[in-house]
Amino acid sequence: MKCYDHTPLPRRLRAITLSPAVVHLMHIPADVDEMSKISDIDVCRTGLEQLPIPLVNLSDWIACFQAAPHRDPDWKDCVFVTMAISAEHTFETMVAPGKVVALPIVPGTLFVFDPLLLHWLKPKNPDQETGFAAIQWSVNRSEFTGHYRSIRKGLSALGNVHSRLVDLKDEGWRVSFPTEALKP
């Protein structure tokens, strides 16, 4: 029997999208915009504290054009909460050997991932202009539930945050969010 007959992949997951009005409040600084056109992941804190966002666990602007598969063992104690401001990408993470969850990322997508799992970010089209720029919170694992709730509450105060459970498309070894699930 093949070992992938038993799948650890989820059938449904929650899609969370911020309204365009909220995204519009998050002005992308010029240096972050420049970082979003370059392949290597870079971080900075330009102007972050002036934005109307929850400051608890606030980490960085994170930007790149794409990211090859990698893990972030230096962040083993954290879970990342990422809010995409500029994006036309797909984020994928390997949740078990050879098993992948794929999430289309557009401006306003809020997603949570474990930095210890293999993950990567690919542009929708390698020739596209749009880079990836996001605001990221690093939340300690042991405090995740409470702090994530604070972040969600702070963002909800700015405008609509759409959250709904969606059925994932099943490709056997990969499940993906239908693109329409992320429309605000």
Partner: protein, 161 residues
């Protein structure tokens, strides 16, 4: 996984048609061509065709009965794979001009560029039935080693962390 590195002078033995080289300007995904393969000397002429790409994102074809042997002609990449099982085995092999390696599409695998603005991968690809891999690898590697005596090393993929 099987890997042999030939010296990069090896590529002088292989004439890449201009029409194939031109394909690198149209790359948005992996491109295949069999142009000019039949005119190459043995054993290159037994290849299914040319493969060109800038990178390959993680992908798999779990039930495939086929397996691929690649000879990189121009490359500055790493081929990485994660064996499917209860414990993931992540291995990486550097792929440069003259690297002969096997790509099994069943487990998750990908090819990344060492430099984001780096070299386009150009190589030859053989596709064989899984059960014929050992025989085909032996045939091909022996032919190539005979063409370049002493100008190769056999190596193994490294564990990647």
């Amino acid at each position: 996984m099987k890997v042999i590195r030939f010296e990069s002078s090896f590529r002088d033995l292989i004439q890449i048609p201009a029409t194939v080289s031109q394909l690198e300007h149209e790359l948005s995904t992996c491109v295949f061509s069999s142009e000019g393969i039949a005119e190459l000397p043995e054993p290159f002429s037994s290849a299914e065709g040319w493969t060109l790409f800038s990178e390959i994102w993680p992908d798999r074809v779990p039930d495939t009965n086929e397996i691929e042997i690649h000879l990189a002609i121009y490359a500055d990449h790493s081929f990485e794979t994660i064996a499917d099982g209860q414990i993931a085995t992540h291995t990486s092999v550097g792929v440069f001009s003259g690297t002969l390696f096997v790509r099994d599409r069943a487990p998750l695998s990908w090819v990344r560029q060492h430099s984001p603005s780096g070299m386009i991968y150009v190589g030859l690809r053989w596709v064989v039935d899984r059960g014929d891999l050992d025989a085909e690898w032996t045939r091909l590697s022996n032919s190539l080693m005979a063409l370049a005596p002493g100008k190769y090393i056999k190596c193994s993929p490294m564990p990647a962390h």
